[in-house]
């Protein structure tokens, strides 16, 4: 494994609703290295999304420790975690989650603007990224004027435009047909190969698993298996 980007040690997460406590993660130990193309799989309720949220600094563990880009997430404030997400992570969500009143280019520019990139530079970067993903002609369209596959590709463009070290994708192909899903995965793998980005997916989709170079299987909040593949996709 190359440089370690994520190190989870004994990570537990308990959700409480009134007197009822649900243990979503029961002590996860996991390391994710730079350049991995990794799928986290498992049945519903196994803790995939919870783990992805913890790795993405969107939530904090009840117990255990997560170190992300050499920073202990448990020691960071809410705003420090937001800053870390902004600077180092890219997110692709299941339901695209684009801002509906912004065009494709403006959606991509949004994160760059949050990072403080200068106007002309971020516009050029957004257009360049969209073009790289074959979305150049859709730059001025709003999400409602695009297909589901196109919207998900814009979401990927937004996630990778700032060249983050780690891209987290939660069920990215869940709403796509197999052609669009395949195109999306090929595109992300190309980004991994060309830009050295690390991708981590939570998924049910066998197609995603087939593309992954490493598959971590969760069951009942624990790592059931951790398999590295020599060939994929």
């Amino acid at each position: 494994m190359d440089e370690v980007l994520v190190a989870a040690q004994g990570v537990k997460k308990v959700f409480r609703t009134g007197d009822i406590a649900v243990e979503a993660l029961r002590g996860i130990d996991l390391e994710i290295g730079s350049g991995e193309f990794m799928a986290i799989v498992g049945p519903s309720g196994s803790g995939k999304t919870t783990l992805l949220n913890l790795i993405g600094a969107l939530d904090v563990p009840t117990d255990g420790r997560i170190v992300l880009f050499d920073r202990d997430l448990g020691a960071l404030s809410r705003s420090e975690r937001a800053e870390l997400r902004l600077r180092s992570l890219g997110f692709v969500f299941q339901a695209y989650n684009l801002v509906p009143v912004l065009t494709a280019r403006e959606n991509v520019e949004f994160v760059l603007e949050l990072q403080g990139m200068e106007s002309k530079k971020r516009r050029a970067r957004a257009e360049e990224t969209l073009a790289e993903l074959g979305l150049g002609e859709l730059a001025d369209r709003r999400p409602s004027q695009m297909s589901g596959g196109q919207q998900q590709r814009v979401a990927v463009a937004r996630a990778v435009a700032s060249r983050p070290g780690l891209v987290l994708a939660d069920e990215p192909t869940a709403n796509l047909d197999s052609d669009n899903a395949q195109a999306l995965l090929q595109m992300m793998r190309r980004l991994r190969d060309e830009m050295g980005m690390t991708f981590v997916f939570s998924t049910h989709d066998p197609l995603v698993v087939s593309y992954a170079s490493r598959v971590v299987t969760l069951r009942d909040g624990e790592v059931q298996s951790d398999e590295r593949k020599d060939t994929c996709g």
Binding site: R85, F93, P100, V101, F110, V111, E113
Partner: protein
């Protein structure tokens, strides 16, 4: 430059639910219009009352002998009036100083007797705008035993021009005073007192009737700028020629009307308060709905790394834009109202299907027709109120945003 998208998102956010935004903008706009129209009408009335009061009858400042206002005794006169007038007119703030005499009399036209008020007026000073007579031609008829009779008094007792009018009263020494005057004309004065009881005589004729020398009952002072009343009253009080007299500001002379004018300002403030409430309701409801509907989107933006402050600015900018559009609409409507009514005025009686009227109150003419005056300060007051309201109205949505956890928000 870091926040290009805040304004863009806020602006486009208004278009997410156009009907709701249009309704909110219309409500705020109508509120601003209602405020401008009400403030304009109230100011029109207040200015009319103020001019009516301080113009022909009371003036901005009044100078009388001590106690004259309360007792109105004929012998409570100002002495050395010419010296006083010279001192008053020497003040830079003073536009006009007019001596007057008031004497209740019994008048008789042939065999009929009635009560009247001889008003001694200087023809050279009362024929101008804001004078008792308001007409040089009428003022020119005064003097040498000729008098003018108020329209109401004339109608009541059948007095016509050319009639001979005998008056009997008491002079300043307590002796019987009498004179026979020729009615030069029947007049309609802007002053109700003159219309209903006035027998306007030349100042010298009135002085002769009451056996006054260089005396008068009051000197009415009108200033170049009404705002200088206190300053002018103070400097007049410092004049040696004016020692031992009462110097009263107009609102001390007729505090009831001053109270009415003040009440009108308060009424405008009440309307402004109602506008604020309407704006709060409109904006708060719109922003609350809009924020709840976007909970998932806001959660996603937080997940991407936007800090809550950024989302605050987004929501607040949207609220301010909503308020600004509403206030712009209301201001345009208000400006149209002002433009349409500035020349012809606005008759509240006609609005209610009644005939236009004028009535007297405390010696002052009050008309149903008003000339609304909308000022830039009203627009600014409305704009400020709505914008402050807009920011206040989004406190609740902002608190909601502040509590958002990205994971929770995106799950909804």
């Amino acid at each position: 430059m870091a926040e290009n998208s805040t304004l863009r998102l806020a602006w486009r956010g208004l278009g997410r639910n156009r009907k709701r935004s249009v309704l909110a903008i219309a409500a705020i706009g109508l509120g601003q219009f209602a405020f401008l129209a009400t403030a304009g009408i109230m100011r029109g009335y207040a200015d009319h009352y103020f001019d009516s009061v301080t113009g022909p009858l009371v003036g901005h400042v009044q100078i009388v002998a001590p106690g004259w206002r309360e007792e109105r005794a004929v012998d409570q006169t100002l002495d050395n009036v010419e010296a006083m007038l010279a001192a008053i007119r020497g003040q830079a703030q003073v536009a006009r100083a007019v001596p007057r005499i008031y004497a209740p009399v019994l008048a008789a036209l042939e065999e009929e007797g009635f009560v009247g008020m001889v008003v001694g007026a200087d023809p050279a000073l009362e024929g101008v705008a804001n004078g008792l007579l308001g007409s040089e031609q009428l003022a020119g008829l005064l003097g040498d035993g000729r008098v003018l009779v108020g329209k109401g008094l004339a109608r009541q007792h059948g007095i016509e021009a050319g009639a001979e009018l005998a008056v009997v009263g008491q002079d300043i020494d307590g002796s019987i005073a009498s004179a026979l005057y020729e009615v030069a004309a029947v007049v309609e004065s802007p002053v109700e007192l003159v219309n209903s009881t006035g027998i306007v005589a030349g100042l010298q004729d009135a002085q002769a009737l009451l056996r006054m020398d260089d005396e008068a009952h009051e000197i009415t002072v009108r200033l170049h700028e009404a705002e200088q009343i206190n300053q002018a009253a103070d400097s007049l009080g410092a004049q040696s020629a004016l020692q031992g007299v009462e110097i009263k500001r107009w609102h001390e002379v007729i505090p009831q009307l001053a109270g009415i004018i003040k009440m009108m300002d308060m009424y405008s403030l009440v309307v402004l308060g109602i506008v604020c409430l309407a704006s709060i309701a409109g904006i708060a409801n719109t922003m609350m709905m809009s924020t709840f509907e976007r909970r998932r989107e806001l959660g996603m933006l937080l997940a991407l790394g936007a800090n809550p402050g950024r989302l605050f600015r987004m929501v607040a900018t949207e609220a301010v834009l909503l308020g600004a559009l509403g206030v712009l609409l209301g201001t345009v409507l208000g400006a149209c109202f002002a433009a349409l009514t500035a020349g012809s005025g606005f008759d509240l009686a006609e609005l209610g299907g009644e005939e236009s009227f004028e009535m007297g109150f405390q010696g002052v003419q009050i008309a149903s027709r008003v000339y609304p005056e909308v000022r830039a300060s009203d627009v600014l007051a409305g704009v400020s109120a709505v914008l402050v309201t807009a920011l206040s109205a989004c406190v609740w949505p902002l608190l909601h945003v502040a509590r958002l956890e990205p994971v929770e928000a995106m799950r909804t």
